[in-house]
């Protein structure tokens, strides 16, 4: 399988592209060094899987591809692949994300680097398969049982679908954790120009090992006390991992001290390095009286509305989250406290929870449930105070 004659397109495409968000996610994964994709078809994520099915086996250093029997198998096979010290991912949407929750818990507890892309559509249940929504923000945080934190990034254009997927792989490797990329149905099919940068211009991170415990990410050395070097399978280390409570060697230990220590370290490792995660976009907020808080496709409409309001002389701004979890609470408090806040989302109320919780003030809300982004005119009217 090492024969290069099979390579129809190089592993990394070069230069400017005109294509969809799902295409960009798939190409970013290949750029990051993806080795295994395991998935189950579901709209609107499927084209990521289709692209990788036709790319992964045919590039230099071919990788593993499996169309699994369900999303439980997909996420678990991704975990298995990752334990061979290979980068692995899956992509899914609503119902599939629900089925993956138990596996996601296993990945957090066994500190398995992997990426899950959730292309959000309307829920609950089968909901609105072909229309966008933003109803899995809380599920990304609380979907699996037990306490845990999965870094969650949210792009809002095709370039960011590429860039944040790379960031997701880097964060997952650096911190030995699953990472989520939350996109939505609009981004999945929306075609835009985007640029695949030169390889040498992008940092790619690989997880630590007992031989190489001191990895750096964005110039920072990742503490091997917080992120334990990973023994993988096939490396003569008699590696072991379990979803039961365990000590630093990975072996079962249900004692109170060990469990508490483990839980605290898992939380600490994410919080300690959160400043390395994608930063929010702050658009015209310095002098703004009214700031719209949004993420993903919704923020595109919100920006349009802010611009229209500005033309009318209203001091409006946009605070767009690119990292959802851990929630950038210090930054949002510093940037927005005291201003009039309007949270806009394609959900009856999820993003508003952390915003209210941290700002501790009244927050206005547009919870748009019509299977499309809220139109700019609706947001502008809210900014203008016209209901």
């Amino acid at each position: 399988m090492s024969e290069n004659k099979l390579v129809e397109e190089p592993r990394v495409l070069a230069g400017p592209q005109f294509n969809s968000g799902n295409f960009a996610v798939a190409e970013a994964a290949l750029f990051a060094g993806l080795h295994g994709y395991f998935g189950y078809p579901i709209t609107p994520s499927t084209t990521i899987m289709e692209r990788l099915a036709s790319r992964l086996p045919y590039v230099e250093k071919p990788g593993a591809f499996l169309q699994a029997e369900d999303e439980i198998a997909s996420i678990t096979a991704v975990i298995g692949c990752s334990w061979t010290r290979n980068k692995a991912m899956t992509a899914t949407s609503g119902p599939g994300f629900s089925l993956m929750q138990e596996g996601i818990g296993l990945a957090t507890f066994t500190e398995t680097p992997l990426v899950v892309v959730n292309v959000m559509r309307g829920g609950p249940s089968t909901g609105l398969p072909t229309f966008p929504a933003q109803q899995e923000l809380m599920q990304a945080h609380f979907g699996s049982h037990g306490d845990y934190m999965v870094p969650t990034f949210a792009p809002n254009n095709v370039q960011e679908c590429f860039d944040l997927t790379i960031e997701a792989f880097n964060a997952s490797e650096a911190l030995r954790t699953p990472v989520f990329v939350l996109t939505d149905q609009i981004l999945s099919t929306l075609k835009e120009r985007f640029l695949i940068p030169k390889k040498e211009n992008i940092e790619l991170v690989n997880r630590s090992s007992p031989d190489n415990p001191h990895i750096t990410w964005k110039g920072e050395t990742i503490s091997s006390n917080l992120v334990l070097p990973m023994n993988c399978f096939g490396e003569e280390s008699k590696a072991f991992a379990t979803g039961l409570s365990h000590d630093d060697t990975g072996h079962v230990d249900l004692s109170a001290d060990t469990y508490e220590l483990l839980m605290n370290r898992l939380k600490e490792k994410i919080l300690t390095y959160q400043h390395l995660f994608p930063k929010p976009e702050k658009y015209l907020i310095d002098d703004a009286d009214t700031v719209v808080v949004a993420y993903g496709s919704t923020a595109r409409s919100a920006k349009y509305a802010v611009n229209s309001a500005r033309k009318k002389g209203i001091k409006a701004g946009l605070y767009r989250l690119r990292t959802i979890w851990p929630f950038p609470k210090d930054d949002i408090i510093q940037s927005l406290r005291g201003k009039r806040i309007i949270v806009v989302e394609m959900s009856s109320g999820q993003l508003i929870w952390p915003v209210e919780r941290y700002l501790k003030q009244d927050v206005e809300h547009i919870g748009y449930l019509r299977g499309s982004v809220p139109p700019p005119s609706l947001i502008r009217k809210k900014i203008e105070g016209v209901n």
Partner: protein, 284 residues
């Protein structure tokens, strides 16, 4: 723990995480025998499969604790999901010899979908299916292999459901190596595991195992030994049996067919996949 009196090391200590002992299994449980047979098969296969390439994946249950005791790379997944984990491992690193060892509840009842799909794909895994006819770990409820009529904590008047015949199911799903033994057949089991290691494709070995605590006591086998005695009197080597008849009623007058039922050299998942990709199959 009291230390053994005369021996300092066991011949298979090399393959056991001795620092994890004593194990959690009950007296009379069959799981120790299986650990013994499995580790011996690894030792016997050393010449062709380096120990460092051996991997064990387990799910949840008493049988699921296997992964924590065997001293090779091993992983303890969630309930029912050992096979998908093993699939991801094997596809990502073909040099690994990946064995899945887990219970009937884990592999068949909750994880049955993965099991039949793995057999259908004829994927290169060795599944050692510990059938103790109940959910031992959670206190002895019935599952998909519990004999009809058996008493369990959720079938106090007798199980009114019907069990799968695992060899029959696996063969029809596409498994290319299918065998069945009891924990009494230690030598045969050992050999069978070696055969599975060297078989290119999906290998399935059912091992019927006593669980005095969860199953035996309620069903006329007071001790593990009683169930072993039953295995001795009832098992019948039947390599060429019609698998429809490969039942396991645990009833005194019924036979318990055991043997190597299927050895089929059809191409494995990895072989077919490689050939398809090399021919650029499906892309022209």
């Amino acid at each position: 723990m009291t230390l053994p009196m005369f021996v300092e090391t066991h011949p298979r200590d090399e393959l056991v995480r001795t620092e994890r002992l004593p194990h959690i299994w009950c007296p009379g449980c069959g799981l120790g025998n299986i650990l013994s047979g499995f580790t011996q098969a690894i030792i016997n296969s050393k010449g062709t499969i380096p120990i460092d390439n051996q991997v064990v994946v387990s799910g949840i249950g008493c049988s699921g604790r296997f992964a924590g005791y065997v001293k090779v790379d091993s992983y303890h997944t969630t309930h029912g999901r050992a096979i998908p984990f093993a699939t991801g491992l094997k596809l990502a690193n073909k040099k690994l010899n990946v064995s899945v060892i887990s219970g009937d509840g884990d592999l068949m009842t909750i994880g049955g979908n993965h099991l039949i799909h793995a057999a259908r794909r004829n994927i290169n895994l060795n599944v050692i299916f510990v059938n103790n006819f109940n959910y031992g770990m959670t206190g002895g409820q019935f599952g998909a292999t519990t004999p009809h009529g058996a008493i369990t904590t959720t079938s106090a008047k007798g199980n009114y459901e019907h069990p799968f015949s695992m060899p029959y199911l696996m063969a029809s799903a596409g498994a290319s190596y299918v065998a069945r033994w009891t924990t009494l057949h230690l030598k045969q089991l050992e050999k069978s595991i070696e055969n599975a290691f060297h078989h290119d494709g999906f290998s399935f070995i059912e091992v019927m195992s006593p669980c005095p605590k969860g199953f035996g006591r309620k069903n006329n086998f007071k001790t593990g030994l009683d169930q072993m005695r039953y295995f001795e009197s009832a098992s019948l080597k039947s390599d060429n049996i019609n698998l429809k008849e490969a039942t396991a009623s645990m009833k005194l007058l019924d036979n318990l067919p055991v043997g190597e039922f299927i050895i089929d050299n059809k191409p494995s998942y990895l072989k077919v996949k490689e050939a398809t990709i090399l021919n650029n199959g499906g892309r022209t």
